[in-house]
């Protein structure tokens, strides 16, 4: 990082916290559309970590953790710089929808990086790319459950340049999530057009998709997920030697896996969940009944949702209405493509072993 690079994001001084508006465009309502970025610039040069939240407008749960991080981080005790964009997609967030509510070819902001066209999503992606990602040496992009379902994994690119993939995995493990997914973010859908796919493949920086928690659950669960997110980010800062005495939220062992199985309904209805928020990260065996979809009109069971493989639950849901394909359950397969990473600083694993 050069000092001049950060000048572009605002006139920030070393050891300070600054908010910068990044203009994007003018909306049909006559109002400017801008992104609000919080720049926490440490007293000494170092890594530049970008935190993007709410690229999908209904995944607002991470905003709570962003606020806590911005308020609690002390730039006077920071090496490097942290750039936080709490709401990366204001138009979608304003309507609490995942995607941009416009009739464009680019409704999903997280499928259009670096922003090639002039649709609103592309303009936002281009703004984020030019002002944030190109200055960053590491990206954490937060995608957490909207109302009704919750997640607990870190997504990293499996098909990034090897050194980028390796550093991404190192940081993902440091984050402390019990589950780390290696996915083809470049060669598979949506190609290198997601934020982490683009940042990892084109910009060559380690990139993590952070998916911890969701909204609509018991207050104590949600508080724990927010705390896990804050601790995980601080642990990443620690792994990058940006702060001293970071937390070590790593569990006894972490599953690094490749094969994710979505267990989502094929019909619309009322999901009756057997594995709610308190079961996140827990093991299930193939055939386990995870939940059932009831007709809201007759209360009859119209679909059963069962685990297709052995593995860990990397996303779960509470009782709520679902559309066909709506989020219900996700299994991180503990198969031959998966491996466990032990944390030597913790106790030896418990007797239950799902390797």
């Amino acid at each position: 990082l050069s000092d001049s690079a950060l000048i572009e994001i605002g006139s920030t001084l070393a050891g300070t916290r600054t908010r910068v508006d990044l203009p994007v465009t003018m909306g049909l309502n006559g109002q400017p559309l801008a992104l609000s970025a919080h720049v926490l610039r440490g007293v000494t040069p170092g890594p530049v970590v970008a935190l993007l939240s709410t690229l999908h407008g209904n995944e607002w749960f991470s905003i709570f953790a962003m606020r806590r991080l911005v308020e609690s981080l002390d730039p006077q005790r920071l090496r490097g710089t942290v750039i936080v964009v709490p709401v990366a997609n204001p138009p979608a967030f304003g309507r609490l929808t995942r995607n941009m509510p416009d009739p464009s070819d680019s409704p999903d902001l997280n499928r259009v990086f670096p922003g090639q066209w002039t649709w609103t999503s592309d303009l936002i992606a281009a703004t984020l790319t030019d002002h944030v990602l190109r200055q960053a040496t590491c990206l954490l992009d937060f995608h957490v459950g909207p109302w009704g379902h919750a997640d607990c994994d870190i997504l990293i690119g499996d098909d990034l340049p090897p050194e980028v993939a390796a550093e991404s995995e190192r940081l993902a493990l440091a984050f402390g999530s019990p589950i780390v997914r290696r996915s083809n973010v470049v060669s598979s859908f949506p190609g290198p057009r997601s934020a982490i796919g683009y940042a990892g493949n084109v910009l060559g920086i380690p990139s993590l998709g952070v998916e911890i928690g969701g909204a609509g659950f018991a207050p104590e669960l949600e508080r724990a997920w927010i705390q896990s997110t804050v601790d995980g980010v601080l642990a990443v800062f620690g792994a990058l030697e940006m702060i001293e005495n970071p937390p070590d939220p790593r569990p006894v062992r972490q599953l690094v896996y490749r094969n994710a199985h979505r267990v989502n309904p094929r019909v619309g209805g009322w999901l009756h969940s057997r594995y709610g928020g308190d079961r996140l990260g827990q093991p299930v065996t193939a055939g386990t009944l995870l939940g059932a979809v009831h007709s809201p009109y007759t209360d009859e069971i119209i679909e059963e949702l069962r685990a297709p493989v052995d593995g860990l639950l990397y996303y779960v849901s509470r009782n709520y209405p679902v559309h066909p394909g709506g989020w219900a359950f996700g299994i991180a397969a503990s198969d031959g493509d998966a491996r466990w990473v032990e944390n030597p600083s913790r106790q030896t694993p418990a007797e239950e072993d799902h390797r």
Partner: protein, 355 residues
């Protein structure tokens, strides 16, 4: 169009005759929508072995208040036709169109987006047609109605309401007696016939136009955790059971509070700007704890600047009839509702008194 006839113990609804002692599900076609879907009302009837009143339980007139549907299904499971006098008529999803879009109102370009403001409508908008179907097939066949409005993501309410301004004062009295039998320590008496939205809400229309007593329960909310939500469900089920006992449909007497706070006005304490709502007043204090005038109920902070941009304070001394969890709110969105304990319209009545 009225297609229903009935005698003392045999109920015909939607062209289907239900004999005494029988459960029956009836599908009443309403309209064909643009996407080709056939919109229908799915009605569940438990016809008792003995003559008696017919009570309708209607939920999800507003599509976003879907959690209330569970109340109707719970009542169906717990109601034994051999122990029932009269009939229980449950309409779990009164607004399938808004329910499918997860929105309070029907998303169309009509004059009648809100089904619960469209009763008695003579046009052919979607909501008008649904309202007519409910009127013709449900209200025309029952002696009393309970309408549930609860289960909105993020906010929870805690009271019951009945109309006080019907042309026939007997209907107002019968409605109060139903609300009292629901078992709460507070009852709101509201101008459902003469003030907004006029007799165009279902209960207002039932009381003013159909001459049927009715009440509204708004107890509960969604996104507060399984335990809390299960408690609200049980409170609603106990309330319906109390009303059925009061009407003589079930054996036993309802549990009526010794003293009931009867109130007329509520004060909405909702944000004037959009942001993240940070509740201060606890969920546990819903309709239980008194907030003093000026007491801080919650704050709204900007998801962009992360600064507090609005404080929500109690405008009066009173009970808090709506509480919220942390969630993003648009201007005017649901946050808090206050019952003014010092208002001339607020009185404490004995459980055996009538207003």
């Amino acid at each position: 169009m009225t297609t229903t006839t009935s005698d003392a113990t045999t109920l015909t609804i939607g062209g289907t005759t239900i004999e005494p002692g029988v459960r029956r599900d009836v599908v009443i076609p309403v309209l064909t929508d643009l996407d080709g879907s056939e919109i229908a009302l799915h009605v569940h009837v438990v016809n008792g072995v003995r003559p008696g009143p017919r009570l309708a339980v209607v939920t999800v007139l507003h599509g976003g208040e879907w959690a209330a549907a569970e109340i109707g299904y719970s009542m169906l499971k717990r109601t034994d036709p051999s122990a029932l006098a009269g009939a229980l008529v449950v309409l779990p999803i009164a607004n399938p169109i808004a329910f499918a879009s997860g929105t309070r109102n029907i998303v169309d370009e009509s004059d009648s987006p809100d089904l619960n403001r469209s009763f008695g409508g003579h046009e052919d908008w979607l909501a008008d047609q649904l309202g007519r179907a409910v009127s013709d097939h449900i209200l025309a066949n029952v002696d009393a109605v309970i309408d549930f409005h609860s289960g909105l993501w993020g906010a929870a309410m805690g009271s019951v309401t009945c109309g006080r301004d019907y042309s026939d004062p007997r209907i107002a009295q019968l409605s109060y007696e139903m609300a009292r039998a629901f078992g709460r320590r507070q009852v709101r008496r509201s101008d459902l016939a003469t003030k907004f939205p006029g007799p165009k809400s279902m209960v207002g229309y039932a009381g003013q136009v159909c001459g049927i007593p009715g009440m509204i329960s708004e107890i509960g909310g969604c996104g507060f955790g399984d335990e809390q939500e299960a408690q609200w469900l049980e409170e609603n089920v106990a309330g319906v059971t109390g009303v059925m006992r009061h009407l003589g449909m079930l054996a036993g007497a309802p549990e009526v509070a010794e003293e009931i706070v009867v109130f007329e006005r509520v004060h909405r304490v909702n944000p004037t700007c959009g942001g993240m709502l940070e509740p201060i007043f606890p969920v546990s204090g819903l309709m239980r704890d008194i907030a003093e005038k000026g007491q801080l109920l919650g704050r709204v902070w900007s998801p962009y600047t992360l600064e507090v941009i609005e404080e929500l304070r109690a405008p009066v001394r009173g009970l808090v009839d709506m509480v919220s969890r942390p969630y993003p709110v648009r201007p005017g969105d649901w946050a808090y509702l206050m019952v003014d304990l010092d208002s001339s319209g607020t009185r404490v009545l004995g459980g055996d008194e009538l207003p």
